[in-house]
Point group: C2
């Protein structure tokens, strides 16, 4: 990656030595700590004796959910009952020896356990606490039940992910837990920033960070809020096309797959039309520039789709790539897993899960010079409570004078 | 947010004192530095004399793009020609006095300018460098042109954001620059993690971080990769419904808007059906539990949609909220801007932009105890080169022995 050989001291994960406690469940907080663990933090996940409910989701091998192999990787798991005096005491012990904590209980729940920020800061005033919730720790909707799609819906994303005025079908979900993921990413980012601040200053106190699903999605709305405020414009969904660039759309192929093509610059447009055998059409004055092509886009889209319909997506893609026309078929998981670039970059890696056997893992989404993607998967998601003995013994050792 | 009053020393933004140089344009790198700037970092954006092309995008007031008021906020802007000897020298001066740098040129471009990681580390060995690209800094696709939708398409998201087998229409875009945003977030997170590492260790050297659009999107694919590897399953899009939970879907309303309803638990289902005047149906044995409801979901969806079609979305939402049924209409920008929760949390704030006038800004997506959302918007996106004099004078001052 970098031209110079990495210095030996750089060949460590960046967050080595940072200890983070997770009081999390389902997706958002565990995703935040998964990212921190990939970065080298020592994450101790605290679960109820029966385990995080997400361990029961989706397909499993020998009772072990395959998603959890990824979702729980690089973490230590301990089981504690937060309602019991012993469980609370152990959490306080953990917190006394940690740099940070991530939680995603409903607002007020940790306080009811006697483990709210004030309680935790009484034990460790330098603790950084990141809280994730549906709507945030205050405001009129604070106590409303948060459900999966709420962030997408209320943050403005679902309204935009649609084919407007063309279908009776509802706007589809993103297909992944996008609002939880975004909130988890912001929680991780805010947490590391606050730890950076604390690290430099022996007087610094820990911070409480408030992240929520709705604001996290809303943060991606580009210039839409000022546009509404200044001009009263309300951005509407655009489907798969871009109104101001033509031809740029997603086209159906012979095998039922879709091909995304960005052919809107003058030169690329000519190459695209030559590749599909329509050079004559490309030369017509009414397609001479992007503005004119936008006016006559329906005709162009029809001609391009007529061509893509005759070929499987991968074949059409290969022809356009050769013509240097930017395009990509819509990858499904097989496409991702078998793609040579994904394999070369070790975006897809086979690792050994002691509970499951050989299993494919995705790489961490960042790579650091001197560290291979494989090094960043230190171990797979452990069984609930797998590290009880190790962690509790470690606490005793560290508590010794 | 926290129960205790914030200590005075905590009432500062967490990244105060971190200096970050941006060699960025368009979305991904500038979004990364926007988040860092919101967190308090001193971000110096280096632009070509004619400015970042994104300044010409979308609607404008007096020639100032309204999106840039948000996208460029809290940053200092300097203009430099990276092709000129003077421009390169100034970048080296900036880098000599900085903690980190973010760039999103095409792989190899900075090296051609003589400003690659080796060059920059020769000036400042502790500099953390975050690089954002379409496909990453190596691998067979490294030099392929990256376009906006590529990450969405190749990372696996566009395949899932669809109404499968029900429509001839292509899967819609997310409606925002999701892959750029995700990559920017990971770049910011990796950068702060590496700065945390460097801060604690006088011997530590800077790192090079490689983030790309495709891996960033691919990181959200949950358990789909191990599922494919173990069982050969390829996750297919599910539209707006959830196959394993019923009724949970998005329903059309009288005003053309959509209402997302999550009514799949037994108790909530009963409350939902009572609220729409169908208690009798809720009592029928074939709807007695979630598994049975999933089997007979078409009938349920039809009955619920028949009810939602009679009411504007906000009215139907109010009725279901009173019945404690989790739901949300799909917010458009007017809904967001006018919502009492958004206003109470200052997710939507009116600020003064000296170039544009009064303008609405979204809050930073994280809040820290003792810091109001308003404090986190220190200034709006400046004109290109607005800080040339200030920054270059600062460099001279700092260079004095």
């Amino acid at each position: 990656m970098s031209e110079k050989a990495p210095a030996p001291e750089a060949a460590r994960l960046p967050l080595t030595g940072l200890r983070v406690i997770e009081l999390g469940h389902y997706i958002a907080a565990p995703f935040a700590t998964r990212l921190l663990a990939d970065l080298g933090a020592e994450v101790i996940k605290v679960e109820p004796p029966e385990g995080d409910p997400v361990r029961g989701w989706g397909s499993a091998v020998n009772g072990n959910a395959v998603w959890f192999s990824v979702h729980g990787r690089n973490k230590l798991s301990v089981t504690l009952d937060l309602k019991s005096a012993e469980g609370k005491a152990k959490v306080r012990q953990l917190v006394g020896r940690a740099d940070a904590l991530v939680e995603n209980f409903r607002p007020g729940q940790l306080e009811r356990y006697g483990l709210g920020p004030a309680d935790l800061h009484a034990v460790n005033p330098r603790l950084v606490i990141a809280r994730v919730s549906g709507y945030g720790q205050d405001g009129p909707y604070r106590d409303k039940p948060a459900f999966g799609a709420i962030g997408e819906a209320m943050g403005g994303l679902r309204h935009l992910t649609a084919n407007p005025g063309q279908t009776e079908l509802p706007p589809p979900r993103c297909g992944v837990s996008i609002s939880d993921d975004l909130a988890g990413m912001y929680a991780a980012m805010g947490l590391v920033a606050a730890c950076w601040q604390v690290k430099g200053d022996p007087q610094a106190l820990g911070r409480v960070i408030d992240v929520d699903l709705v604001s996290s999605v809303f943060s991606l709305m580009e210039g839409m809020l000022p546009e509404y405020g200044l001009f009263g414009w309300v951005r509407q969904p655009q489907g798969a096309a871009i109104k101001t660039a033509a031809p740029t759309n997603t086209y159906p192929c012979a095998d039922g797959k879709w091909l995304c093509i960005a052919g809107n610059s003058d030169l690329i447009f000519k190459r695209l039309m030559a590749a599909i055998g329509k050079s004559g059409m490309a030369a017509e004055p009414r397609f001479a520039n992007n503005a004119l092509r936008c006016e006559n886009v329906a005709e162009l889209d029809a001609v391009i789709a007529a061509w893509t319909r005759t070929l499987p997506a991968a074949e059409a893609e290969a022809i356009l790539e050769k013509a240097e026309v930017p395009c990509s078929r819509l990858y499904d998981m097989r496409d991702c897993a078998e793609d040579p670039h994904f394999r070369a970059r070790e975006l897809v890696m086979q690792v050994e899960d002691p509970l499951i056997g050989p299993i494919l893992h995705p790489a961490a989404p960042f790579r650091f010079d001197g560290v291979s993607p494989r090094e960043m998967v230190r171990w797979t998601g452990p069984a609930a409570g797998a590290h009880n003995e190790q962690v509790f013994r470690m606490l005793e050792e560290e508590a010794k004078p």
